[in-house]
Amino acid sequence: MVANFLRAPMNEKKVLKLKAEIHILKDQCKGCGFCIHYCPKKVLEESDEINARGVHPPRVVDEKNCILCSFCTAVCPDFAIFVRGKQCMDGC
């Protein structure tokens, strides 16, 4: 029985998907560009804004493309970016 249950096709609409929530602590950023350059999905880009340290912090191009790999969080030398997965039903 259990095996049958496991084989049932997944209803994509009913699965809780994780939606990325990218937090950028702008004034902590020193503008090294590691997060922008090494994001595998090119989710980030340099913004035009100038922060408290006189550099351009990253901004999110499209959060939907984020695969929540957290590489940006891990490679940031300044603890200025982190990503959280928010659970939500389709369309949030």
């Binding site: 602590l25 090294c32 090494y38 590489f71 891990a74 490679v75 030398p77």
Partner: protein
């Protein structure tokens, strides 16, 4: 949120000391980040945890980590750590320091701590120079590299740190660059779980003082060098893992077990006490 700023790792940092002083694109921050990540994943008991650093840019780490820590004199991080470990063997003692601190002025301490297999863990930020004092040549500066004291190119052969650590008797030896943050975090987790003398060399960008004299003006350019030159070769011969502009061999080199100094010492004392 527990820290003074909003970041999942804020609790592991001394809020008053953050933002840190390290330059933009400096690898020290990446090493600190990976170290905290490993602590977080292992859910280490921070009351039994001590961080010891020497002097240098990376030496600031002792002041940034929100655990009991010592910022010691230049070159003497390992002697301090040895003292802590022998006085209280139940503590987890980690030395995070620089290539100059650990292998120039502190070189003897390193080889003998490894030889004795004292159960301390050593992470070296190898940025190829003395960053803090203005970029002088050091024991890991590559041949021909330009530094403030080698303006015509370095003529000294550098240490191959993973070979040195292996030959001295370290029981865990690995090398990663700051681009290999995932492997580095995995390796730090292993280092923290080993009993004996364990060592990780992290090849790290110092764009401000070293990189810009060697055609790599930014941290990103140095990271790109690491990306192009790195070759992962786990458990390959550390003697052949020299760092050259063309090739940086990374990976784990040693993972063995043998009795630690503190086990042998306290075992011996217990036997003598029993006899008397």
């Amino acid at each position: 949120m527990a820290g003074a700023f909003e970041h999942p790792f804020a609790v592991y940092l001394r809020a008053a000391m953050i933002p840190h002083i390290w330059c933009s694109g400096c690898g020290n921050g990446v090493i600190l980040n990976a170290f905290i990540h490993a602590l977080d994943e292992l859910r280490m008991d921070l009351d039994k945890f001590v961080v010891v650093s020497g002097i240098g840019c990376i030496g600031r780490t002792a002041g940034y980590t929100n655990v009991d820590s010592f910022h010691t004199t230049h070159g003497r991080a390992i002697p301090f750590a040895t003292g802590v470990k022998l006085a209280k063997p139940e503590l987890e003692v980690v030395v995070i320091s620089g290539d100059g601190d650990l292998f120039a002025i502190g070189g003897n301490h390193f080889i003998h701590a490894a030889r004795r297999n004292i159960g301390i863990k050593v992470i070296c930020a190898n940025n190829f120079n003395y960053g803090m004092t203005g970029g002088q040549v050091g024991p890991t500066t590559p041949l021909e590299a330009l530094t403030t004291t080698t303006p015509y190119g370095n003529v000294e052969h550098p240490f191959n740190l993973v070979h040195l650590a292996t030959a001295s008797g370290a029981t865990y030896v690995a090398r990663w660059t700051t681009l290999h943050v995932r492997m580095l975090t995995m390796s730090i987790k292993k280092l923290l779980q080993r009993k004996g003398f364990s060592f990780i060399e992290v090849v790290s960008p110092c764009p401000e003082i070293y990189g810009r004299r060697n055609n790599m003006r930014t941290g990103l350019e140095m990271m790109e060098w690491f990306r192009k030159a790195s070759v992962i070769a786990n458990f390959s011969d550390p003697a052949k893992a020299e760092i050259t502009p063309e090739k940086i061999v990374v990976g784990e080199f040693v993972d063995i077990e043998k009795p630690t100094y503190e086990q042998l010492l306290y075992g011996k004392i217990a036997k003598i006490v029993k006899k008397e």
